[in-house]
Subunit: 367 residues, 2 copies
C-alpha cells in the first residue's frame, strides 16, 4: 500500500487533531477532504463498532446549503423523491439525478425550514451541479458550502453517550429526524442517522472552532463506554447494504438500478429535472440492479476496480465493493447484476484478478 | 504519514500498471483518480526532471467534452477569456468562473473543431457545473467525460523521446498547439504543454486499451535517455509558479487575485457567465494577489493547510504551497498577499505551526 501525500487541497477537518491523536492509520479522500478508513485494523474497528460506540470524523459529508424563496422548488428539481409531505425536522435520503436520470449523488436532505435546506453529500461536487442549475434557471436562491462538519456517533451505545453530552431529550429523536441541541451555547442539529447499521446519530457541527471541544467532550463522557475514534467500516457497510457513490454506482446508473426505487416517486415528483427520463424505467423497472453477493474462498484482495461477474463465461455484471466478513464467514460483496442472473441463489463467477471464484446472489443484505 | 486506502472510487488509470511497476511510493487523489506524487523521492524526482525526461500518468486531468452546435457558445459562457480568435489546433489556459467571478477550475481548453472541445480539468467536478448550465439554458450540446487520459512527457529530453515514438514531425508542434499523431493505428492529440517548466508534451490517450502499450513504447524508446516514471513535482511547480486549484486558489478567488488577469478579456468576453461580476475587478484590480514568497530557515513541514502570513502580527495573507528548493537554497512558496504588503522585497512572517519564520515577497517566480 502506498502513502497519501499531504497538501492543502486534501482538506483537513475540524476533527483532524483528534483523529491523528487517536492513531489513524489510513485515509481515503472524499469531497476533497480526508476521511479516515482505519484506526486499529478494519477487523478490530468492525468488532468494536458492533459492540460499543465510536466517534467518526465524517466532516467530508459536506453540506450544500439552499437558502431563499426558491429553495424548496430547487430541492424538488434535484430529486425524483416527492418532497411535498416533508416537514422541517425531517431528513430524507434523496437520489439526485441529471436530465437522463443518471445519479449525480445520493445525499441526505435536511429540511431546516421551508426556505432553508442542507444537502449532506456523498463524494461528488454536487455544489457545481446545483449552482449551474440555479444559474441557468435564474432561481432566487443562495447556494453555498457552509462551515458545517458532521460528526457521527455510531454503535449500540451511541444513544447512551449522546445523552450524557446533550441530555436525555436526545433519546426522543426518531430515525431520520433531527432536533436542536445545545453544546457550549451553540444550537446544533443532531439527527438519528449515520452510515452504519449499528444505530447512532450525526451531529452537524456548525462552526469549525467547536469541533475539537465536542470531540473531546464525547471522548471524555464515553470513557467507561469504551468509546473509540472510528470511521465508516468497509465490512459492516457491505453487510448492511449501504451503497457508496463512486464505488457501487456512478452517473451511469439510475436510482432504480441501485435498488433505490423506493425513494423515487417519479410520477408525482413534478419539477424533477430527471423525471421525463425516469418515467419509463420507473414503470418497467431496470435491466440490471444492485445485489448482495457472497463470494466463496479465502479473503479477497481490496476491491480497487470493478470485478467482472460472469455466468458461463459471459459477463453479466460487476462487483464494486467486497470484504471478508468475520460474522458471516464469507466474502460479502455488492454488485450490479443483469436481470437474467439477479435472482437469489443464482450461481455466478467473479474475476477478482486471481482466478475465478464461485459467487452466489443473496436474497438480502446480511444485516 | 498515513496510507491511502484502495477502493474503486479512487479510480485507477490506464497507466496504473506501469506506475506500480515503477515503484510509486505515494499518491494524491485528483478528480476521484489516483495521481502519483513520489517515485524515488521528491528531491530525486526533481533533479531528474530537470536533466532528463519523465513519463507522467496525469490521466486524472479528466476531459469534459463539449460536442454540438452550441459548443463554442457554451465554452465562452464558461470563461472570461475571449475565444473568438481561437483556432482548431490551439490550446488555451482558461479560468472558469461562476456568476460571482469565483474560480471553479483552471483547465486547458483544447479546440478540436468549432463544435467539439475538450476541457482538460484541474481538481473539481467541472462536468457538474457545465451540465447544470447546459440544462438550465437548454443548450444544444452534448457534455460528458470521454475515455481520454492524458500522459505527459516532460523534461529537457522530452522532444527527443517523442520524436522516436511519433516521428520528427512532433518537433514542429508549437507551444500550446497540438497535432494529430499516429500510434498503433490510432490518431492521438499530442500537445506541447504540461505542468512543468522543463518543456514537454501531453498525449491525450483516447481509449484506455492503448495506455500501457504507449507507456511501454515510451519507456522502451527512452532507455538511453534515462527515461523514468515521474509525476508533477511539488518543488519544481512552485519554482515555476504553476498554480494548483484547491491549494493556491478556490472558488472564493477571482482570476485576477490569482494573477491570471492576462488570461481574461472581460470587456470583450461577451456571454461569459461571470462577466458582470468581473468587470469591476478587471478595471480596478484585486485587493489581494498570488505572490512568490521565499521563506527562510530549514526545510518546512508539508504545507497541508493554509499558513497565515503576518506583518507586525497582523494577518495579511496565506501561504498555500511550500517546499525546500535545492537549486535556490531557500523554501519556495506560493501565497496570497494583500495589496498593502505584496510589493517585491516586503518582509513578512509565516506561521507554519512551528514558530514564525521570516519571509520575503519575490519579484517573480524562480524559473
Amino acid at each position: 500500500m502506498a502513502l497519501i501525500s499531504p497538501s492543502r487541497r486534501l482538506r483537513r477537518t475540524p476533527f483532524s487533531e483528534g483523529v491523528e491523536a487517536a492513531g489513524v492509520k489510513a485515509y481515503t479522500v472524499y469531497n476533497h477532504m480526508l476521511l479516515p478508513t482505519v484506526f486499529r485494523s478494519v477487523q478490530e474497528d468492525y468488532r468494536h463498532l458492533k459492540t460499543a460506540v465510536q466517534v467518526w470524523d465524517v466532516a467530508c459529508e459536506r453540506q450544500v446549503e439552499l437558502r431563499g424563496p426558491d429553495a424548496a422548488r430547487l430541492m424538488q428539481m434535484l430529486t425524483p423523491r416527492d418532497l411535498r409531505a416533508m416537514l422541517p425536522g425531517q431528513c430524507y435520503y434523496v437520489p439526485i439525478v441529471d436530465e437522463t436520470g443518471g445519479m449525480l449523488n445520493d445525499p441526505v436532505a435536511v429540511k431546516l425550514a421551508e426556505d432553508r435546506w442542507w444537502i449532506s453529500i456523498a463524494d461528488s461536487d454536487l455544489l457545481y451541479w446545483v449552482k449551474g442549475v440555479v444559474q441557468g434557471w435564474r432561481l432566487d436562491v443562495l447556494v453555498d458550502e457552509p462551515d458545517v462538519s458532521p460528526l457521527a456517533v455510531q454503535g449500540p451505545k451511541a444513544e447512551d453517550l449522546l445523552a450524557r453530552v446533550f441530555g436525555d431529550a436526545v433519546r426522543d429523536v426518531r430515525f431520520f429526524r433531527f432536533g436542536l441541541f445545545d453544546f457550549q451555547g451553540r444550537s446544533l442539529v443532531v439527527a438519528r442517522s449515520g452510515y452504519s447499521k449499528q444505530g447512532g446519530f450525526e451531529i452537524y457541527v456548525e462552526g469549525g472552532d467547536i469541533g475539537m471541544p465536542l470531540w473531546n467532550a464525547l471522548m471524555e463522557a464515553g470513557r467507561d463506554l469504551d468509546v473509540w475514534a472510528g470511521c465508516p467500516n468497509l465490512i459492516e457497510r457491505i453487510e448492511g447494504g449501504l451503497l457508496s457513490y463512486g464505488n457501487d454506482m456512478t452517473d451511469d446508473n439510475t436510482p432504480h438500478e441501485c435498488g433505490l426505487g423506493k425513494f423515487c416517486d417519479t410520477q408525482t415528483a413534478i419539477g424533477c429535472i430527471g423525471r421525463d427520463a425516469l418515467l419509463r424505467v420507473a414503470k418497467e423497472g431496470p435491466v440490471q440492479q444492485i445485489r448482495p453477493i457472497a463470494i466463496e474462498g479465502p479473503a479477497l484482495p481490496p476491491c480497487d476496480r470493478w470485478w467482472p461477474v460472469l455466468a458461463k463465461g459471459k459477463r453479466v455484471g460487476r462487483v464494486s465493493s467486497a470484504a471478508a466478513s468475520p460474522d458471516f464467514d464469507t466474502n460479502v460483496a455488492i454488485g450490479m447484476v443483469r436481470m437474467t442472473h439477479w435472482d437469489p441463489g443464482t450461481e455466478l463467477e467473479v474475476d477478482a484478478g486471481e482466478g475465478l471464484r464461485k459467487a452466489v446472489v443473496q436474497p438480502k443484505f446480511w444485516i
